[in-house]
């Protein structure tokens, strides 16, 4: 079952709905959001995914990171925290 999440990419003008799979890595989830917002925000390799105020290890899966349906996550430019 895909997990619907509210994604906010730094530099973008609105939040987007991203459908994640439990087994997606955090990095893959961040890339999905970047791709979905690519019309408005230039690609940036140096990013962090932030959930619940903390940068999440990009190698963790969505399930391991504890992301649940209709949670908010942010993708921000690295070293901002």
């Amino acid at each position: 079952m895909p997990i619907p999440l509210y994604g906010f990419l730094e530099g973008d003008t609105l939040g987007l709905l991203v459908l994640a799979q439990e087994g997606d890595t955090v990095l893959e989830l961040a890339r999905k959001l970047q791709e979905a917002a690519s019309l408005r925000v230039a690609h940036n390799d140096k990013i962090d995914l932030v959930y619940d105020g903390k940068a999440i290890d990009p190698a963790l899966t969505v399930a391991q990171a504890g992301l649940q349906a209709l949670d908010r996550f942010d993708v921000i430019w690295r070293d901002k925290l």
Binding site: P4, Y6, F8, E10, G11, D12, T13, L14, G15, L16, L17, V18, A36, A37, S38, L39, R40, V41, A42, A69, L70, D71, R72, D74
Partner: protein
């Protein structure tokens, strides 16, 4: 024969004592509003500008004739076709948003005409209902002639009957403010906050934009409507004055709630028209300048007059003046097929102007436009490439205002999640969350577009969402007015610094 001065006070004040029903049965609290007070507390209710029915009809007749005269002189199809294309789309926005919203004002005003607590209030509300009916009919009449030329004008009648995302937001606002509202909250929320605070003065601003854009038909229509608004908006002041004596905290809450909700909707309608859909050389001011000069200062003075505090979120409104409608316009441009009007890319000269007017966050907005422009350069101009310069993921919406989660700045979006009674809600901003938490029973069961998609109520794929749920067609859905074919876009660099 009695003179006007002798009979008008008698005709305006026709209250009597009830003998076989109680007063609270004639004016039930649920529909007359809070606080429920005996008529003795309302008997001194006075409007500033008194009018009789005959005077009202004579006046309105003259105003209608003036509108018809302007329509016949400069409102024909060939006149409209000469208008700048971006401005034409400002017309389409207002053609859709205005008429049936005004019709909900008929219903709200009629509630005041029956359940207002003093006869003079009820008489004024009856005139207000006739005003709002006029404000429904005039734009429907004027825009109807344009439908055969451009089917997007069909949305003048269609908009509120669809589940288009902006219609969902507008209905959420007007259903509460006007259609389903008790007489007191209607008078404070609509007459005092929306009309006195926003539409009365914003119509003056809109008329000025229309004049600068050589759109004399729209200018006359808006001016004609504004004069009605100025009269019936005065219902709010004396209602507010009475309620203030008995429950000032409630008045403060209604003001805080309805100012925020009005700001949200009107910053989009007027912000987009002023800063994007009016040709650069025809813009008399920026949206921020207009708001500061015409709306905010005046509203604060009125609050002072009644001993009310400025809303607790005032600093957020001041900050949003620099960014919110820009976030919305860029978002909407990149999802333009979800709307019924067309959009223009801001040119380098316009972006330079926007940078001068909005220096605080413009760097971040400019980066967004540069990226959109780059996409047009990559795919090339043309109608066939419209959807290659268009978003594909589902946008997200606030569970209170139902508008896109576009608040804050590109660096920091202010959306926030709330878990309540086992359900998750998301809000664009702190004020929307605050309003929800003050009256959760009123808002909790309303589904935003995302929840409708996730529950299967609305289609998940964009083409079906546009056609089956938003009721758009390839002919009517929004496009770039020039399909990306701008002379300046061919140039390699579009620096606006």
């Amino acid at each position: 024969m009695l003179s006007r001065e002798d009979w008008l006070p008698l005709a305006r004040k026709l209250d009597w004592d009830y003998t076989y029903v109680r007063e609270d049965e004639v004016f039930p609290p649920v529909i007359s509003g809070h606080p429920w007070l005996p008529h003795t507390e309302w008997k001194d209710w006075e409007e500033s500008f008194k009018t009789s029915y005959r005077e009202y009809v004579d006046n309105q007749y003259e105003k209608d004739m003036a509108v018809y005269a302007v329509r016949d002189a400069v409102g024909r199809l060939e006149n409209i076709q000469k208008l700048a294309r971006p401005w034409m789309n400002s017309l389409k926005v207002h053609a859709a948003a205005l008429p049936l919203a005004e019709f909900t004002g008929v219903i709200g005003s009629l509630r005041g005409a029956r359940f207002g607590r003093d006869s003079a209030w009820r008489t004024m509300s009856a005139f207000g209902a006739l005003d709002e009916y006029r404000h429904t009919q005039i734009p429907l009449l004027l825009f109807h002639q344009l439908v055969r030329w451009d089917s997007q004008f069909d949305w003048a009648h269609k908009f509120y009957h669809t589940n288009n995302w902006f219609a969902i937001a507008a209905r959420h606002f007007f259903d509460e403010l006007t259609l389903g509202q008790n007489a007191i909250e209607f008078a404070i929320g609509t007459n005092f906050v929306l009309e006195t605070g926003f539409t009365n003065l914003q119509f003056v601003g809109l008329a000025s934009l229309a004049r600068e854009s050589s759109d004399h038909m729209f200018e006359r229509m808006v001016t004609s409507i504004q004069t009605d608004e100025a009269r019936h908006a005065q219902i709010g002041h004396p209602v507010l004055a009475v309620v203030m004596k008995h429950d000032p905290e409630y008045v403060q809450y209604l003001l805080d709630k309805w100012f925020w909700r009005s700001w949200r909707l009107f910053s989009i309608l007027t912000g987009l028209s002023t800063d994007y859909l009016t040709a650069l050389e025809q813009r008399p001011y920026s949206f921020k300048e207009f708001m500061e000069e015409w709306i905010l200062d005046q509203f604060l003075r009125t609050l002072d007059e009644f001993g009310l505090k400025k809303p607790w979120y005032w600093h957020i409104v001041e900050d949003e003046l620099d960014i919110y409608h820009h976030m919305i316009y860029a978002s909407a441009y990149t999802y333009r097929a979800t709307l019924w009007f067309d959009f223009a890319l801001p040119s380098p000269a316009e972006r330079k102007w926007l940078r001068q007017k909005y220096p605080k966050y413009w760097d971040d907005m400019d980066a967004v436009w540069e990226q959109v422009i780059e996409r047009w350069r990559t795919v090339g101009p043309g109608a066939a490439n419209e959807l290659a310069v268009h978003g594909t993921a589902l946008p997200t919406f606030c569970d209170l205002c139902q508008l896109p989660l576009s608040a804050g700045t590109p660096r920091k979006n202010t959306a926030n999640v709330l878990v309540k009674d086992g359900r998750k809600y998301i809000f664009c901003s702190e004020p929307c969350r605050w309003i929800f938490l003050r009256e959760p029973e009123r808002y909790a069961n309303h589904k935003d577009l995302v929840k409708r998609v996730l529950s299967g109520e609305a289609p998940a794929n964009l083409p079906d969402l546009l056609t089956e749920y938003f009721r758009l067609t390839p002919d009517t859905w929004g496009k770039d007015v020039y399909h990306g074919a701008y002379d300046w876009l061919a140039a390699k660099k579009t620096s606006t610094v």
